[in-house]
Symmetry: C2
Subunit: 339 residues, 2 copies
Amino acid sequence: MKIARFKFSSAVTTVHFNSSISRLAKLAGKSRAIIITDENVYAAHSGKLRGWDVIVLKTGEEFKVQETVDAVLMQLIRMEADRETLLVGVGGGVITDLTGFVAAIYMRGLAFGFVPTSLLALVDAAIGGKNGIDVGPYKNMVGTIRQPAFILHDLSLLNSLPETEWRNGMAEVVKHACIHNRLMFDKLKVLTIPALRRNRKKLSDLVFENATFKLKLVQRDEWERGERKKLNFGHTLGHAIENQYEISHGEAISIGMMAACRISEEILGFHEKEEVKMLLEKFGLPTSALYNREKIFQVLAMDKKRQGATIQFILLKKIGRAQIQKIPLARLKTYLEQK
Amino acid sequence: MKIARFKFSSAVTTVHFNSSISRLAKLAGKSRAIIITDENVYAAHSGKLRGWDVIVLKTGEEFKVQETVDAVLMQLIRMEADRETLLVGVGGGVITDLTGFVAAIYMRGLAFGFVPTSLLALVDAAIGGKNGIDVGPYKNMVGTIRQPAFILHDLSLLNSLPETEWRNGMAEVVKHACIHNRLMFDKLKVLTIPALRRNRKKLSDLVFENATFKLKLVQRDEWERGERKKLNFGHTLGHAIENQYEISHGEAISIGMMAACRISEEILGFHEKEEVKMLLEKFGLPTSALYNREKIFQVLAMDKKRQGATIQFILLKKIGRAQIQKIPLARLKTYLEQK
């Protein structure tokens, strides 16, 4: 167990690495906390949530929408939640995104914390304060940036995680290596998902390294004015195809990263695309897809990273070195068509 | 004309007192700004909004709800609003609350400014960064606190303001005097609404004094941890009856202020209730109402100022001196019943 504090503009986030959900009672009194989770997590861990007030939502990205927010808000009113109430999101990225958003807007803001239950939430989604919901095909179109009071890691919660969720998490881990550090990338070449599931030490090292990398990067650029944008590597195209084709987030950004690698080849002379491809495939992730390029381009044109007629794209100069590049939408369209 | 800058935690608000809406083009380029207004304001001032992108909403507090937010968000997507877009709320308190909220959550936050078109918005609603929407009978249950980039005053916009709206604004002006300053209170005794409508100098002095008072108070306590709570004088009961009985905000808080005066008599020995009553009546505001106390108490119990079994109430020690008082809900109920 290891506790670290990360100071952000308006809050301090305490991260409890390699800890246990049994510590939750110390972080949040049962009388003033309300847990928000989903049916899958609740079914797998209901014993650990006994004695807490719990709101259980349906599982899946398709429920990360305003209707669910409306339902949670009404539930909070019925439970007489007030400004002293602490919301705790126990789940994957959908639950942490929804919980953070509800906490940001209910009574103009409640404190909140997270217990991530997926690899993806541990290394990525629970970190950085971005919250939000989808609007039609547009991912995270509505939301705020607001930091949690705590993030509590309990790696034993991953015991019930299906194989596809491990792949999802590894997509973000590969992303971190691609934009940050060749050494991280090379270490991943000798790692497998079965080894992570078997070996708690390997898993906790990987989670610690990746979570700490993102926490520090967000600290340096909380409002995404510069460096933080690099975390969007693979996400611009990824988000556009994710909700259109109902594929998982990891699969979508894996395809998005490969597309960004191809564009990096053309614009920056990047020449390590095959290495990225091999690593993604080793973790069971797709690296290409047949999709309706016209339809995807329409969604891309509404991406939050668009600025007028250009879009900010994250490209690789080499593995471990990312670069923010403005690409005219028209040119991006031809890149997509070449494929 | 007078320009003043007020620094808040995450933004600076530039306030253009006694200016003109024709200056809007300097503050917000037509190509990147979108105006949000309502049907009444648009009908009265459409000439002044020519050439701007405008979203026109139905008029009234009953539209300050999530359905309207949903519609505005879809409209922004259709108009291809991006992170560089500036939203400008041109209207009264409903429009500034809605615009501020949409700007807080669209793409995780756009910059925004206000052109208040009612006395109430000039002296109160456009100031302080609180935004939000109602949920059922609960006023402002959902929202955030986020400061506008600018507030632009054009007092000529009040020419089309109906009498009832002048009374609404004066309710907040009386509130400011009650909680802040006996001198402000005495000056109001010799002021009338017809005089304000006739005499631009009297109006601009009143707006400047009241807007500046609130701006400085919010600067000292942006997150409402202490002093800012005093601005809730009359609002706890006021909000509870406002949406239940579809009376105007000014009428509701006038009734709420008188109830707070009565409770102040009992708890703090306040003895100037009749003076407050006379002033409110002079501005055509109601000072009592027959309402279903049981029903109102249910709504009160969900007020944002509730903390467990107590509620924070603003009482007067004397005119010009307010005090934050925790009152047990059970005791509040007997006060309401006595009336």
